[in-house]
């Protein structure tokens, strides 16, 4: 029996992230323009970094409460109430985690029993389905389509819901499609969740990055606050990916269950990063607005460029991704991405890395400079022109 054979069958059965596989090919090459990066190109604003340095000088180096610094929880609750008119008790309804990734894992482990099903609209962030499986649940993909602007509908959900369905896991604004869900449509989803008594895990990490539209927080919908585990963090809006700070807001029972797992596995999120996150919420608004305005300009620039070269492209209204269809080229997502990389040295991510419904699309991140975007568009155009 080899060591590999001794690995748990659950872990063995999970496919490695499609992004990782592609990363290995890219890592070897030089002169690549990358549209493959799922994080801001901005460095964390200086005042946030400086507050962390100051915190270190002041000796903030200890553990914090399992829940996280109360100061930070209070700020999070304040901002959530201000922006979405939904309120939480910072003492027992908020938990600071190591990125939204941990919060998602905790939420799923806290509520799923073996064999429970979780509805997961696709294409979606690479962790969703794997985390459901690791928590003992069964992910049920709900494919969304470009023709419907990659929004999930009640009809689709009704077709897949079973007596074993316990969770609905949504992530809007969406990575990789850039889709958002307008309030009217979320209201219908809320009705569906109540009807089937589902727990809704709502990953709203891109909430601030919404363009020409307003973000609706799922927990703010009537009757949804206690049914929802609301996840958010600092990585995207405040350009703080490497700090690893996320949070969960929900009813006290869910939060204390999640905290139980968190205290045994993680203890607490790093205090240095929590100190910086407090500063981000207190004084980071203006810098964040500037970054969002810049993303919005790039979003229009990319949409225009991709459409002009003849690709069918849905207008993304959130996050910093654009998800053009490459079906007209006759290539699969992976072949398109690989050939483009080899012949034109542009890295993007094949759509099927985000679920099989992403096949026929590629994810381009516009979290990179305008100069890089212009260069990338020129190269993609040369590549696409030969195949259309």
């Amino acid at each position: 029996m080899s060591w590999a054979d001794r690995i748990s069958p659950t872990v063995r059965a999970i496919p490695p992230s499609g992004i990782r596989r592609f990363f290995d090919i890219v890592a070897e090459m030089k002169g690549v323009v990358s549209l493959g990066v799922g994080e801001p190109d901005f460095i964390t604003p200086w005042h946030i970094r400086e507050s962390c340095v100051y915190g270190l000088e002041k000796g903030y180096t200890s553990y914090t409460s399992n829940y996280g610094l109360l100061e930070l929880r209070q700020e999070i609750v304040r901002v959530t109430e201000r922006d979405y008119q939904v309120s939480y008790d910072p003492r027992c309804e908020a938990l600071i985690t190591v990125g939204v990734s941990e919060a998602l894992d905790l939420a799923l482990r806290a509520v799923l029993s073996p064999g429970d099903e979780a509805l997961v609209p696709e294409p979606c962030y690479v962790s969703y389905k794997a985390c459901v499986t690791l928590a003992g649940g069964i992910p049920i993909p709900v494919p969304t389509r470009m023709e419907n602007q990659f929004r999930v509908t009640v009809d689709q959900l009704e077709a897949l819901v079973t007596p074993r369905t316990k969770v609905l896991l949504i992530g809007y604004p969406n990575n990789p499609t850039g889709a958002i869900m307008p309030k009217e449509e979320l209201l219908r989803i809320a009705e569906f969740a109540a009807k089937h008594d589902l727990i809704v895990i709502s990953d709203e990490i891109y909430a601030n990055l919404t363009y020409d539209a307003e973000h609706t927080c799922f927990a703010s919908l009537p009757g949804m606050r206690d049914r929802t585990i609301l996840l958010n963090g600092f990585s995207k809006a405040y350009a703080m990916t490497g700090w690893r700070i996320g949070y969960a807001l929900s009813n006290p029972d869910f939060i204390s269950a999640m905290t139980k797992i968190h205290q045994y596995t993680m203890l607490c999120a790093p205090i240095t990063a929590q100190v910086a996150a407090v500063e981000a919420l207190r004084h980071g608004e203006e810098k964040m607005r500037k970054m969002i305005a810049e993303y919005d300009c790039r979003r229009r620039f990319m949409l225009d460029g991709l459409r002009n070269m003849g690709l069918t492209c849905f207008e993304p209204k959130g996050a910093f991704y654009i998800f053009p269809s490459i079906k007209e080229t006759g290539l699969t997502s992976l072949a398109f991405a690989e050939e483009l990389l080899k012949s034109e040295k542009v890295a993007l991510v094949p759509g099927d890395a985000f679920g099989s419904s992403g096949e026929g699309y590629v994810r381009c991140s516009y979290a990179t400079s305008m100069a890089n975007l212009a260069k990338a568009l020129e190269r993609i155009e040369r590549f696409v022109k030969k195949r259309l």
């Binding site: 992230s17 592609f22 890592a27 690549v32 990358s34 799922g38 994080e39 962030y125 300009c297």
Partner: protein, 161 residues
């Protein structure tokens, strides 16, 4: 709103083509061109400037900040004296300040000696100038919001989820 955004884009990079600006702002090229023209006419956009690191070109220049105390004059206050000073082409900027002195004058010249000469013969001798204090600049770290030698680079991986 578009005005504000347009100004911010141009302040950052005045060489952006109109076609590109139009796409970025979601407006037509004509609208953007008209708006820029209006901003220029209203003197909201005063001039398009280039920030140059002269040190790298081998051209030696000396920059000095001079604190100037003056006596304000009847009716025109500080303005008339300020004008007499800012008309000199050697003078790069002039600001009216609160506090220990009145005018902050930024001078640029080919050498220390020439700046000293300008201050003693031209500036200090103007009627109404009470005193001057000259500070020479040793190094520029940041100019007009731009860090001259920025060591921060993109350290992100090429592909991330």
């Amino acid at each position: 709103m578009m005005r504000q955004q347009l100004l911010e884009l141009l302040e950052n990079d005045a060489k952006r083509p109109i076609a590109e600006l139009a796409v970025m702002l979601g407006k037509s090229q004509q609208e953007v061109a008209d708006q820029i023209k209006a901003l220029e006419e209203e003197k909201i956009i005063i001039k398009y400037h280039t920030i140059i690191n002269w040190e790298k070109t081998g051209v030696d220049t000396v920059t000095a900040m001079i604190e100037v105390k003056i006596t304000p004059q009847r009716e025109v206050g500080f303005d008339a004296l300020a004008e007499r000073i800012y008309r000199f082409p050697e003078v790069r900027s002039v600001y009216l300040m609160s506090g220990a002195y009145d005018l902050l004058v930024m001078l640029e010249g080919p050498s220390l000696k020439e700046i000293a000469e300008f201050v003693s013969t031209k500036l200090a001798t103007i009627e109404g100038v009470i005193s001057t204090t000259t500070h020479f600049m040793l190094k520029t770290y940041k100019e007009a919001g731009v860090i001259i030698e920025d060591h921060e680079e993109d350290r992100r991986l090429v592909v991330t989820p």
